[in-house]
């Protein structure tokens, strides 16, 4: 019996990231290599400043690596231009930030619809309403972010990341601004939906308990995988 081939969604090969002038460079990542398969959930842990968020930014194409190769769905994104990177993001990647980053003058529904609108899908209202209802926000769809609690805002942010059915979700400390109970519910929701949609998940966290629930843990220390 054949095991189904697991496709690599993200692949980092000897990725380096350096900031600052060449005379006194700050090396954030010093040759990081790892890969993430589809439907796999990994956590990236490590102390502050170890380069966790930089990995998220590089994988999303929001930052350029100093050297090395980053493949997203087997496509090397390190050589791509701005427009191609935008296309990679809207087709393959969903991002969840610690600070939610919802657009303040758009309602919960409109924030979720943004992901579809980025991909020129302008008739996704029903789909977005269904997803928000599944997330327990059916009664909040027309509320502005300022009218939602932190947990509700993060659920909207997760719905926004998932609605386009990306191949990978990049979550940068998604529960960092939430209390313990809300945080646990949020994690369950995130895990359940990424599993259901067969989406890979990269979870950056400080929470060891949360990290242990993932399929794999990558620990960063001083810009290297420990």
């Amino acid at each position: 019996m054949h095991k189904p081939m697991k496709q690599s969604v993200i692949q980092f090969s000897d990725v380096r990231l350096t900031y600052g002038p060449s005379s006194s460079p700050v090396e954030v990542l010093k040759g990081v290599s790892f890969s993430l398969n589809s439907n796999e959930i990994i956590s990236i842990v490590g102390p502050s400043g170890s380069g966790k968020t930089s990995i998220i930014m590089l994988a999303a194409g929001l930052e350029k690596a100093t050297s090395g190769i980053i493949n997203i769905n087997n496509q090397n994104i390190t050589e791509l231009g701005e427009n191609a990177l935008s296309a990679i993001r809207r087709k393959n990647i969903g991002i969840v930030f610690q600070s939610f980053y919802l657009i303040p003058n758009l309602s919960a529904l409109e924030n979720v619809l943004l992901s579809l609108e980025a991909d020129q899908k302008y008739n996704g209202d029903e789909e977005a309403i269904n997803l928000l209802t599944e997330f327990g926000l059916g009664h909040r769809i027309h509320h502005l972010p300022s009218e939602l609690s932190g947990g509700e805002q993060q659920r909207v942010a997760i719905a926004r990341a998932l609605i386009n059915k990306p191949s990978v979700i990049l979550a940068d400390e998604p529960t960092g601004n939430l209390d313990e109970a809300t945080s646990e519910n949020m994690t369950k929701l995130l895990f359940a939906y990424t599993r259901a949609q067969q989406t890979a998940l990269v979870l950056v966290t400080h929470n060891n308990e949360l990290a242990r629930q993932c399929d794999r843990i990558i620990e960063l220390k001083d810009g290297n995988i420990a």
Partner: protein, 343 residues
């Protein structure tokens, strides 16, 4: 290339954003509105004044052509030749003292006008029948004075005034005369009849005399050829200068132009100041949207779409700012016209 659906989305998004951010955007809208209003107002007032001058240029000159012969009157032959082209009005201007027998004198620009003056428009006086009475001439010759002379010498209708030792009676106060540009608008002036001027031989004013003739061509005649004929008559006479209505309009127009240039300068200065304000406000407009822009980038919106959304918003502000200020300027201009009773 963006398709129609994308343009519709950009429009929808931008309008929604403006509608929901109006509290933050009213400063931009107001700054834009005021500066554009000022500029539109300046241009529209200037245009309106110039149109008015153009329409009344013959009244401003007092004829279809003015012939200025300086200190000497035109010869009888020349006057005869001119009268073949239309109706002629003769005026003599000179400066002299107007004195009150009981004491007090004013240095005045005195104008002696003939019976057909003014050829265009009408002279307005107080009392209103003073002009008609001035024409009739009674026992004593009549002088019409301006309001300043009346105030300075404390004169009333019927009082006596001495001009070059001849007694005149005050017939009324001049409110306006049509050929305003040719009168001493900023000094004292008075009008007597040419008949009294000749009768009392006031020509002794000598080199201070200034003779002007105005021609009104018959309505049915070929205006242009008559004017050319009149100009040809004096083409070789170095002491005679001719002036057409457009020259008169231009000289007043230059005054208006200077005034409107000043207004333009004020408007442009306001625009520069407002421009700095606008650029700062636009910068803050973009800065306020930095987070929204970053979120859109992270969701995969193309840079072009994001730029177009905000460019569209800014253009919408400019469009409505311009429309509103332009129409408001026209409205204010109309109001000003009615307040100033310009026809």
């Amino acid at each position: 290339m963006l398709n129609l659906q994308q343009w519709a989305y950009i429009h929808r998004y931008a309008i929604r954003d403006i509608r929901r951010s109006y509290k933050k955007l009213w400063v931009i809208a107001l700054t834009l509105f005021i500066s554009l209003l000022l500029l539109s107002l300046t241009f529209s007032v200037k245009q309106s004044l110039n149109d008015e001058i153009e329409a009344n240029s013959k009244e401003l000159l007092g004829g279809d052509i003015q012939i200025d012969s300086g200190i000497d009157p035109l010869s009888g032959d020349r006057i005869k030749q001119l009268s073949n082209l239309g109706q002629i009005s003769e005026t003599v201007n000179f400066f002299t003292m107007l004195s009150k027998p009981s004491g007090g004198a004013v240095f005045t620009d005195l104008r002696a006008v003939d019976g057909v003056y003014p050829l265009y428009g009408e002279a307005k006086t107080m009392p209103s029948d003073a002009w008609a009475a001035f024409r009739l001439e009674g026992e004593l010759p009549v002088v019409l004075i301006n309001e300043n002379i009346q105030n300075q010498l404390q004169l009333s209708v019927g009082d006596e005034l001495t001009i070059m030792s001849k007694i005149f009676v005050v017939g009324g106060v001049i409110v306006s005369v049509p050929d305003l540009t040719n009168s001493a608008a900023f000094g004292e002036f008075a009008i007597i009849s040419k008949q009294a001027f000749d009768q009392f031989e006031l020509t002794s004013a000598g080199s201070f005399l200034h003779y002007d003739y105005r021609l009104k061509t018959p309505q049915s005649s070929d205006y242009q050829s008559k004017i050319e004929d009149a100009q040809t008559l004096f083409a070789n006479d170095e002491n005679v200068r001719t002036k057409l209505p457009k020259d008169s309009a231009q000289s007043l127009g230059r005054l208006i132009d200077n005034f409107s240039n000043f207004l333009n300068l004020v408007a442009v200065s306001a625009m520069i100041i407002a421009g700095i304000g606008i650029s700062n406000t636009l910068l803050s407009f973009i800065n306020q949207r930095n987070t929204s822009i970053a979120i859109k980038k992270s969701l995969g919106f193309s840079s072009k779409t994001i730029q177009l959304i905000y460019f569209y918003e800014i253009l919408t502000h400019f469009y409505w700012g311009h429309r509103l200020s332009h129409f408001d300027a026209l409205f204010i201009n109309k109001k000003m016209e009615s307040l100033l009773e310009l026809d």
